[in-house]
Symmetry: C2
């Protein structure tokens, strides 16, 4: 399969060039971009809904929501108050790539955006290889998924700057151990910033919102 690997390298190097262009465009306007990645069902859309609800009046948030099929997530984000939301339906592809972002970016008025949130396809493997021009990747993990996931999907946790542990209201309903998941994640990536939240009860979300606000403040 050396032919496959060669083509894959070429695709990735083309992707990196486009991602660098995106990064330059965003940087020039002082936009902070986060690429949200996780398994299907960890709660990316819900976290973004809550974040919109809390910060929509203070910050101008652009959103790109990727899914294999359906525009469900984009529609949820619009309903949650998202004013600048673009869906990407990958039609089978297991990740977003920089080309897809390049295509939808002109549909967002970048001069009217402070923060850009990109919600990737639910997949703990493939999206880790594709730079989208973001400032950082935010990986979500929910307490119902098992605390060994950082060890089993190390690429994603290595390439993320932030880990959000969601569904902490369900702690105790499985043998998920908070200390163990943190130790596992930090054995892969010692610099990982960690948040513990429940999007359902709201626990921990205030700290998360403050961090998001400070991101923008630090950029200004």
């Amino acid at each position: 399969m050396s032919e496959k690997i060669t083509v894959e390298k070429k695709v990735l190097s083309e992707n990196d060039k486009l991602a660098a262009d995106i990064r330059a465009q965003l940087k020039a306007r002082g936009i902070v971009a986060l690429n949200f990645v996780s398994s299907p069902g960890s709660g990316k859309t819900t976290l973004l809904e809550k974040t919109l609800g809390a910060l929509n009046n203070e910050l101008r948030i652009g959103l790109i929501a990727g899914d294999v099929q359906t525009e469900n997530d984009a529609n949820r984000l619009k309903a949650a108050g998202g004013k600048m939301v673009r869906p990407i339906v990958t039609g089978g592809a297991c990740h977003l790539d920089a080309k897809m972002i390049t295509r939808v970016l002109p549909e967002l008025d970048l001069d009217q955006i402070d923060l850009l949130f990109i919600e990737n396809v639910g997949n703990l493997v493939c999206p880790s290889s594709y730079d989208l021009g973001e400032d950082m990747k935010v990986v979500l993990i929910s307490t119902t998924e098992g605390d060994d996931k950082p060890l089993k999907y190390p690429g994603m946790f290595r390439r993320s700057s932030v880990m959000v542990i969601n569904k902490i209201d369900l702690l105790g309903s499985s043998d998920f151990d908070m200390n163990r998941v943190k130790a596992n994640a930090r054995s892969i990536n010692a610099d990982l910033r960690i948040f513990e939240v429940s999007c359902r009860t709201g626990q921990g979300l205030k700290t998360w919102f403050e961090w998001i606000k400070n991101l923008k403040a630090a950029e200004d």
Copy 2:
């Protein structure tokens, strides 16, 4: 990216040839093979542990456990009584393919096996494209993942014969709706056989075990 698509087609067609060989080998020995697929953390390994615990004395079960990194799952299955367990560490690849199965199959004594369970990499997208020579794919979904997953990842639900809804003990802890998930899944694949289980409390597992036993009986 037409070059990428051409190479991908070639890879898939090579995969299909190897998968046909595997299928023929298994068929010749009357082995029933199931390919277990799901998001990370839906409970594939736990379902297999419980199934081994219940049926290990009646049926000879071979297991192939795939992971991106670590042999954790294979080790758990051995600890649960699995006598013929082979790990596959994909080293970054987001799915198992027929070549990987072809490589480990000689390490299992096929004359001593009634059922072959293959636990795929946790990923709701990519494993759907790769035939491993199985009789059927079994897709797991847990109640904590959201009931819209069949619509958002239709390929996997279309190519599966069976859907196991796991973690039904956590129903009510989210807005997951059992009727909705079934309707969503059947809108993609009307023939899907559905089981509802909790690997934690044991609810529904007896029906699942009976079905597994009948698979083998039907083959004899």
